[in-house]
Symmetry: D2
Subunit: 344 residues, 4 copies
């Protein structure tokens, strides 16, 4: 069986394992106060052209999401998110568990718009019962989105404008950031992201690391005492240098984007193969996740040889499924799949 | 100006003030451990025909809602509610503040259906990623709903069946319970309510008391240690007998329903007057809140003499507004309004 | 039986009931947005000589405590309190329930000192593992304390200095504020309190009202969006004018202090009677609560005629008990008690 | 410089790195649903002789602590802990952050007693104001304790008896469990622990793994829906097999105890060397952490060559410090230290 089910089904890029091996006999200070975390933070700050950013390394995405949200909001403040947003649908109510309401907006192609956000914020601003409703204070989006789509620079700039107008923080879930910035369709640089957002993260877990998310805090108010938030939320790794070392390996010489660009290129080949055969796409993704609508027979045929993920039942006979690539996907695996698609 | 804006704009029914006056020089034990609370609880248990119920007196509705929810759910469990549910729209995220997600269902005429609830619960039951999503464990509805409509006995029995099937608690917000059970349209008795739900409350604040909600807990699991939950959530009144005394006054001789039936009758007269003149209703309410769609000119005309509440902008020219009656509404006020409606 | 068990065992001072009666047929806007709340706030601001204060009316003390704390602190920040502090011992973990640790200091005569607070704050400031411990950000004290004692102006000024030095908020639980400021032993004015603290409240429940606490917010950061905090924490009364009206009655013409000064004077007579007979005091209280150490036989003798409260088992034979006076305590009741003490 | 500062300053035991290397090209299901987690759970259940236990793998200790506590308690319930307990002093209020009060007991030699717990529980049971105080529902202890000491089997059995009597859960923090069970002083087996507790964990982070804690749930009520709690608390690793693989490596052939027994033996040699030279011990530890009281000059002398940790300032001239051993400590390092101690 060949796995295209997700981008976290293998260990780590070999360079990361090698770095772990080489440093295993060294001793370090704990909790992220070590030279590797420092170096990795420097590399990331250089990547985004933002020396004043604060960079912290957390273990996982759910942690990163609710820790940032918990750090940013007062109790009566809420976070605006798409109906398909990860915090809304797949984190077991972690954001509500730490006390905050998610204000849900309907999404199209995985995205929400500046106009929708403005409408929500304006509703609060003009409400005559403000104290009876939660105060939107943060916008949470994902780049790429849950269905692989990308905000354009223009879209993001518009969202930023609305956030400035209504004093909202803009926080970008970057669990797959590498595949977003690494997409040929993306017109955003890492520096753009740093310029336009208040906080975001470079996902490691899904982009070649064993685990780890590099949270980048741009807004000074979010930087304050963030290490206390990390610890309180169970997100501070004792052997923190394991995170720093991985991100140093990924960011020192561009490995992060080498990995993700390659995976995106492979995914786009899969996309093209399906499109050529007349299959409909579930979303317009130019990243490493491809969502295809299959009839049941085709799905079952492919499932004999490939592992891919169920996304949604479209109707009685049609199902949306996800094919995913990652650092561990080989050209050979993709070519085999493409040949089988062509034969369908 | 004549006030129809809400049902809590006056003090209390005179019988309640008189009871307060008469007992003011008496001394009592605190925190709800007094003879009045005991008598009031007995009267309510008699009303619902349920001697095993636990009855507690809280100050307000938001308190009642989140205290019951907090008592009932484990951290990863959620409460299902209508998109117009009070806990969803008008309690400043109090439910999320104490840690729980609200699973929102679209409503029609203010109501959600057994089928919708079953679908949501089934989605969880059959999910292959259960631990990534919240577990629905309680259904929250209002009787009457936020727009004055009523669940029929059949609808409630169907919801109960789904709750039994999926082991969900059924909790009914009864801030206006008197107007619901007191409506000629209602086919539910207080005993039906006790039989079909796990918890509900008889609202006092909006039904003639100065303040207070009588929470009735039917399910044994919800009864356990509930006083600790009340105190922890800031909902335990030091001079608790003030609550017991008010509910005793309301329930000892049927005053509660005398008040609410009269108010409903007045509201239905207002409804009829609007309907006769060809105005459209915003919702189908047979309770004390009437939601009418007015054109701007009519609204402004009526606003010269009456205070009523804005509900929703329907389109450029049409606005839904609310007219509300209560114990303090006089026949004369209603007749004056009706004459003015007829003149429109 | 004559009740000296607490100061909330009767309804309200007759002037308050009368005010309720007189306004019962008036209609008002809800949720504290009414003329009485406005007038009461003005009277209180005048009393404390602080026009920039924000005054809010909440129903009870537990609510007032955790709502202010929740409004003030970020998640990793803690509140410093005496080991006998009400939030620590008698609020069912309400402060922890909304997410905050209480840093407990040992008390003497119910009080904590500026030096103790400084030591705690300094421990944090100089900690090399700051992110592993909570950050003290607020000091919570009671005036008078749980055992009736009073901070002197000098003590409070010293605490203020430490709070300024370490950027801590100073919050004073004033459930019995009237008995504190109304004590002949007090060298504090209401204006001093406003000058020296960031937030405090004038308790109503225990000082002659049916219920209600007037929260006074001095620090601008605490004032921001406080109404949202009130609503979220279930502490916003629908018929808010009931609170405003009571505090207006208490503060318009000095009734609040008339009530509490009188009650303190009666309590001091009880104290003197016990002391004259050689009984030891449990605490040095010059307010309306008197804590006396009795041998078992004496306690049982007095318990035949009087209701008073158990405080603490001192040793096998000796028990500390509490005698409390309030607006409803009569001279006659006190004289009867004193005679019985003299006969012991 | 030679590091004795803690037991998490190196990577992982080589066998673990080797296991990671060997499996890096394999693909696995995510979130702990993989063969390695299954095998590791089986090995641990065999070790404790308890086939009905549920074993879950979390990343870190703070996570493990608050996730278990959050899963076990209703909102008004508290956890009893020693004043030196990790949850009380070094987790940034994580337990309070998720809503629970810690009831603190004074410790002696790092331990609390069955009698103290019984007294606390009895205080609640006999309280006439139960609803005003939190309900103790769990006892949290550490094995070994924060200062390296060990509960005897008899002590633990007594605590168990009290827990049974008062229906309290017994939860043991086992961040250093290997060093506890691996101590020659311990009279407990892993099976005893499983028999006497409701939940505990085998720490990996400090016992040779890169990271990871194996949480063992014995009580059926704690087992229910625990994976939802893990996910909600940000403690579910995407590549969960990394945890399973490490614990499999540690438990399949006894490596876990080989590592910890060896480290304890080295620590006891250090202890003996200090004792022989007449140094006083800060605590009576027979595990891998040794707490020694040094005068300032000696401390500074040793600090020229060794890194060890500050524990507490005893008086002006004397300081308690910690020397720690682990899998990475070499005989040579210990011998060098011992020679330097002898020369003091």
């Amino acid at each position: 069986m060949i796995r295209f089910n997700n981008d976290y089904n293998h260990g780590a890029h070999p360079a990361i394992l090698e770095a772990l091996r080489k440093t295993n006999s060294e001793s370090y200070g704990g909790y992220g106060l070590d030279p590797w975390c420092k170096k990795a933070a420097e590399a990331i700050k250089k990547e985004i052209g933002c020396p004043d950013a604060a960079v912290h390394f957390l273990v996982g995405g759910t942690q990163a999401n609710y820790t940032v949200i918990s750090a940013a909001l007062r109790p009566f403040q809420s976070v605006i998110a798409a109906d398909c947003g990860h915090i809304q649908v797949h984190e077991t109510g972690a954001v509500e568990h730490i006390g905050h309401k998610i204000e849900v907006l309907p999404s199209a192609n995985g995205k929400i718009t500046a106009a929708q956000i403005a409408e929500k914020a304006e509703l609060y601003r003009t409400s005559c019962v403000q104290e009876h409703i939660t105060q939107p204070k943060m916008v949470y989006i994902s780049y790429p989105t849950e269905v692989g789509s990308l905000y354009s620079k223009k879209e993001l700039e518009e969202i930023r404008r609305v956030c400035d107008q209504y004093k909202l923080y803009l926080f970008v879930d970057g669990a797959r950031m590498g595949y977003g910035l690494g997409s040929p369709e993306s017109d955003l640089s890492a520096a753009d992201l740093a310029r336009l957002t208040d906080a975001f993260y470079f996902g490691g877990t899904k982009c070649g690391a064993l685990f780890g998310e590099a949270v980048v805090l741009l807004h000074p108010a979010l930087q304050e005492d963030f290490r206390s938030c990390i610890k309180q939320n169970g997100a501070m790794l004792a052997k923190g240098w394991l995170l720093g070392l991985q991100f140093h390996t990924l960011f020192e010489n561009g490995l992060y984007f080498d990995i993700t660009k390659r995976a995106v290129a492979l995914a786009l080949k899969i996309r093209d193969a399906f499109v050529c055969k007349g299959f409909k796409l579930y979303s317009n993704s130019h990243t490493n996740q491809q969502f295809i609508i299959l009839d049941r027979a085709t799905m079952e045929k492919l499932a004999e040889k490939y592992i891919f993920e169920f996304q949604e039942q479209i109707d009685e006979n049609r199902i949306a499924v996800r094919f995913c690539t990652s650092w561990s996907t080989t050209e050979e695996e993709v070519n085999t799949l493409i040949k089988d698609i062509e034969k369908l």
